[in-house]
């Protein structure tokens, strides 16, 4: 039952906020987020409560089936990511007056959908929970977004709906061949592996902003209110990568191997092409959004290594990096929102010297910036170094370097690219003399700092002791 509670708590809280009269939406959302962390920890560390099954439809056989301990610990790690980022997201941003219901309901719904998708053991609900989480994402961008919010919302909707439909076609073909929606029974398909693998790569890929289906992501994150950017970039986007590992690699391993050259080219475009696009950004939020797209390339690289040589640690490398990236990008958007709140701008050339008046903001942003460019001691490095090693694991020196090794080498250039844009941003925003927008800024309040500190501490813990996450894998 604990597993069901993980979804019911945010859904119930949503209902109370939505239908309740004169309730304090923030407090309820906060309570639900904290409670969910407690339940998640209880469910992870106690056995016996971990699965739940409810038959929804008997023909075809569709169950609301949940199990957090499936997939050798992958779901546990993504569940932890979800509940942590949910708490930080509820604590972040400034809700416009009178919009509390929409604001907090959306955050909780996205959270419920993401958690549901990560712990479902039924293909139908795996897909449906993700769709559920997308709807509030669109609404929040469309109603409370910044800039051309309608246009951005429309674009995101089109992209993600396109990805979802392609994905759905792939999933239905899988269910059709296997005769079941049960994810615990997934095995390699005997027919049409190549076709299905392509559908999955494009479908899941679009949801993770795989090149060339990436250009929705940066404008969406720049426009969305902070909690939505944090939850989508940090948590929900990992759905596509999760799907490729726990569904794609299981049912169409040969199909994915068939498309490996294509996948390698696309992921390198994510890293190098989008990396260059990121360098050229003039606004912090667009830069962060693009950097998030870029970093997806590394996780795809781990998947490629897995497909290529069945690497003994590529899956774990991918999930560790997913966790690290989720925490770090959420923290980045949380702080970018504070920068805009304090200075009224995110244009890099309008800022400067902010470290003088807001030293803790500079420290926290520096911390997360260093994490995202892979500084050792912070979580992302542990994931990245494992990814790079997994890329070389299959190399037999008697042969020439294989395509995955060459891709790994090119991908490592990304560590230079990300340092270029991140240090440039830090330099422009925090260093130098103060400018008109930054000279009267007040330091961060405790409430401002809290979500970033929660996320920053986790980056440090996982970075210093990666086994804290790796222990969940078996």
């Amino acid at each position: 039952m604990l597993t069901l509670a993980l979804i019911l708590i945010p859904l119930l809280a949503t209902a109370i906020i939505f239908f309740g009269v004169s309730v304090n939406a923030r407090k309820i959302a906060l309570g639900a987020a904290v409670l969910n962390i407690a339940v998640a920890i209880a469910a992870i560390f106690t056995s016996g409560f971990s699965d739940f099954t409810l038959n929804v439809l008997s023909k075809p056989n569709i169950n609301l089936a949940l199990d957090i301990h499936q997939n050798g610990g992958i779901s546990v790690v993504l569940l932890l990511l979800s509940v942590i980022v949910t708490l930080a997201a509820v604590l972040s941003g400034t809700c416009p007056k009178g919009r509390e219901k929409l604001w907090y309901c959306s955050a909780l719904l996205i959270s419920a959908g993401a958690i549901g998708a990560f712990i479902s053991t039924d293909l139908f609900f795996f897909f449906a929970f993700h769709e559920l989480a997308l709807i509030p994402t669109f609404l929040m961008i469309g109603i409370l977004g910044r800039g051309d919010r309608k246009e951005v919302a429309w674009k995101v909707t089109v992209y993600l709906a396109f990805g979802s439909i392609v994905l759905l076609a792939g999933l239905l073909m899988i269910a059709n061949q296997l005769g079941s929606f049960d994810m615990t029974q997934l095995t390699a398909l005997s027919h049409h592996q190549n076709e299905i693998a392509l559908l999955l790569i494009i479908g899941f890929g679009t949801l993770v902003s795989l090149f060339p289906f990436h250009s929705w992501a940066a404008p969406a994150y720049a426009s969305a209110p902070a909690p939505v950017s944090m939850l989508h970039a940090g948590v929900l986007k990992k759905f596509g990568l999760y799907g490729l590992i726990v569904v794609g690699y299981k049912v169409v391993p040969d199909g994915m191997a068939h498309w490996l050259p294509l996948l390698l080219v696309l992921l390198l475009c994510n890293i190098i092409w989008v990396g260059l696009v990121t360098i050229n950004q003039k606004r912090l939020d667009l830069m962060l959004g693009n950097s998030s797209v870029m970093h997806m390339g590394y996780i795809f690289l781990a998947i490629a290594a897995l497909v290529d040589n069945g690497s003994s640690f590529a899956t774990q490398a991918a999930v560790l990096l997913m966790f690290a990236h989720g925490i770090s990008i959420a923290m980045s958007f949380c702080l970018a929102d504070r920068i805009e709140n304090k200075t009224g701008s995110l244009e890099l050339n309008q800022l400067g010297g902010l470290a003088k008046n807001a030293p803790s903001l500079a420290f926290l942003f520096g911390l997360v910036g260093m994490a995202s460019i892979g500084l050792p001691g912070l979580a992302n490095f542990a994931g990245e170094i494992m990814v790079f090693f997994s890329g070389f694991e299959g190399w037999k020196p008697a042969d020439d370097l294989g395509p995955v090794q060459i891709a790994t080498i090119i991908a490592i250039w990304g560590v230079v690219i990300s340092a270029v844009y991140m240090l440039r941003a830090f330099r422009n925003i925090f260093q130098g003399e103060t400018v008109s927008r930054t000279e009267k800024v007040k330091p961060l309040s405790g409430d401002d700092k809290l979500p970033a500190i929660i996320l920053g501490v986790i980056l440090l813990i996982v970075g210093i002791y990666p086994q804290s996450i790796l222990q969940f894998f078996n």
């Binding site: 669109f138 260059l276 640690f313 050792p376 560590v415």
Partner: protein
């Protein structure tokens, strides 16, 4: 366990200063940092005398075939290096107590110094390549933070960024080299590397791996072509330049190569001709940097180019497969170059932050202790017989015998003497050329104390054989042979030329714009960044926006918009319903297929 304490103490100090004491307790913070560093020095000395044994390692990552330990080496190479790091680290802390007294962010300064001490300790103790890479990056961070200490100054902020990025470019190669070594040598642990396996797949692959690993050293030790960050790094406080950008961190590249070569073994290395490339890069760096140094006017810049040049010597020795000679020079150089940098710090402090040597002069009389110790450092750097620099430079010249680089090394010896005595004649002798220099007074004991200790080390260090890093003790007997005679002649020629050109001069009689402008390499790189990277980024951004976003996806959007318009006719409401509708389509389709199929 004491080795763990040696490893953890600086981290504890950094954490306490940054998170507990902060600027409000700056006085305590500075004392704490200095005290903890002294603690590490004591522990390092105990380690040298084998008072404690090596503790068990700690498993950092262990999954599948990927295992990384945080574990320690226990050999003379590490012990000697540790003495250099903690010894100079402690003296620099003491010097900083006075030098940074009035800085309004000295807690941050001392916290970052502690962070550096921690990172550097990690490099020295690392038993495997990944651990070394971890701390390699962390010294990069502490260097970035300390160069940018005065972050409000644009030049300091830019210099910090440049240092970090140059190192990142080197680390790109370094990381690939580590990956190749992992497969070729069968391990990333230095003591478990298999040299025979390493070269079993041809000298080409092995050579590529060695050179890629060396890329890390090119960045960290500022060798050509990534040397440009080091002179700019002089924007940091001068004690930082002494510790990080002269004595320890920049020498980490040499230490890393010595450790790596130790792991691969001589037998294998001799079959890899690519090591010749390392020797030439070192040799060319030492020559080019020495030429640049002859035309600099900023006292710290002269020393910075001198550091580049001396690092080139060390790298050259490593490339000639004599890492012990390189490490011996690293060791002697660390003491006398720290002496010179701290001496320049004392001068800058006394002259109210004037760094131009042409505005100094006559400091010998105003600051006798500083001037005397500075001259001692100069004698060691220019390898006057019986100074420490003499013995270690002999070692390098011997390593280069029968090699064309021998003549390069001798040429550099001549240039070194020339530019150092140019500095001495202009800044310390003659008449004061500026009011600041006229009113300069000797610095206080917390500053000249370290200078005196370092000056003693500039003579004594080769004889403290237990402290010298390396696998075998260097030969420190004075024997008159051809190399000695040539080396002394180079000194004499350099000194004579500096005397003739610069004695009593008020302005520079020589002008070589090519050297003064650093061979225009910095401008060349700025051009590359501007015209290649930034332009490429702009072009890619344009393509991304207008082709991928505009056409490919725009088509999709229009298609969907068309469909949306059909729905709109029936729904008659704004866009919002469409968002929900379109995303709900997925669910509807799923239900349709599952129920009606």
């Amino acid at each position: 366990m004491l080795l763990w304490l040696l490893f953890i103490l600086p981290l504890a100090s950094a954490a306490l200063i940054h998170f507990v004491l902060k600027q409000n307790n700056a006085g305590l913070a500075t004392k704490l940092g200095t005290l903890f560093t002294f603690g590490t020095l004591v522990l390092a000395i105990l380690w040298v005398f084998n008072v404690f044994s090596i503790p068990a390692s700690w498993s950092w990552i262990h999954f599948g075939d990927f295992k990384v330990n945080i574990g320690f080496v226990d050999d003379q190479l590490a012990k000697g290096m540790m003495i250099v790091v903690t010894g100079i680290g402690f003296l620099v802390h003491v010097f900083s107590l006075a030098y940074m007294e009035d800085d309004d962010a000295k807690a941050r300064y001392f916290g970052n110094l502690s962070l550096f001490m921690f990172s550097m300790t990690g490099i020295v103790l690392a038993e495997n390549f990944i651990m070394m890479f971890i701390f390699w990056e962390l010294v990069g961070l502490s260097s970035y933070l300390l160069i940018g200490h005065w972050y409000k100054k644009d030049t300091a902020a830019e210099a910090a960024k440049k240092a970090f990025l140059s190192n990142r470019i080197g680390d790109f190669g370094f990381l690939i080299g580590i990956l190749m070594t992992w497969i070729l040598a069968g391990s990333v642990v230095f003591s478990e590397m298999n040299g025979a396996e390493f070269i079993a797949h041809g000298e080409c692959l092995a050579g590529a791996a060695v050179l890629l690993v060396f890329c890390g050293a090119i960045g960290k030790s500022a060798q050509l072509p990534l040397h440009v960050w080091l002179p700019d790094a002089m924007e940091g406080p001068t004690p930082v330049s002494a510790l990080i950008h002269a004595a320890t961190m920049v020498a980490a590249g040499v230490y890393m190569m010595a450790r790596f070569f130790g792991g691969i073994g001589d037998a294998a290395l001799q079959q890899i001709p690519a090591t010749e490339v390392i020797a030439w890069i070192g040799g060319i760096t030492s020559l080019v940097a020495a030429l640049m140094a002859t035309q600099q006017n900023d006292i710290k810049k002269i020393l910075a180019y001198s550091t580049l040049s001396q690092l080139g010597y060390m790298v050259m020795a490593v490339g000639l497969l004599d890492p012990n000679a390189g490490m011996f020079h690293l060791y002697t150089h660390a003491w006398f170059k720290a002496l010179l940098f701290l001496g320049s710090g004392a001068v800058i402090y006394a002259c109210h932050h004037e760094q131009d040597i042409w505005k100094m002069g006559g400091l010998r009389k105003k600051m006798p202790i500083t001037a005397f110790t500075f001259i001692v450092g100069t004698l060691a750097l220019t390898a006057v017989p019986f100074t420490s620099g003499f013995y270690s430079k002999e070692g390098i010249l011997h390593a280069a015998e029968n090699h064309p680089l021998y003549w390069v090394a001798l040429g550099v010896a001549f240039l070194t003497t020339f530019y150092m005595f140019r500095l001495i004649f202009v800044a310390f002798l003659g008449e004061a050329k500026d009011d600041h220099a006229k009113h300069a007074t000797e610095v206080e004991s917390r500053m000249f104390g370290p200078l005196i200790i370092l000056a003693i080390m500039a003579f004594a260090s080769p004889f403290l054989t237990k402290l010298i890093p390396g696998t075998e003790a260097p030969d420190i007997h004075f024997v008159m042979n051809t190399t000695t005679i040539l080396s002394i002649s180079a000194f004499a020629a350099g000194f004579a030329l500096a005397f003739l050109l610069y004695k009593g001069k008020k302005e520079d009689p020589v002008s070589i714009p090519l050297f003064r402008n650093k061979f225009y390499i910095d401008e060349f790189y700025a051009g590359i960044v501007k015209w290649f990277q930034d332009l490429l980024a702009a072009v890619v951004h344009f393509l991304d926006e207008f082709i991928i976003n505009g056409m490919l996806v725009g088509g999709l959007t229009r298609l969907a918009q068309g469909t949306g318009n059909i729905f709109r006719k029936y729904a008659q409401s704004g866009n919002l319903q469409h968002y929900a509708l379109i995303s709900g389509v997925g669910i509807l389709l799923a239900i349709y297929f599952t129920v009606f199929k």
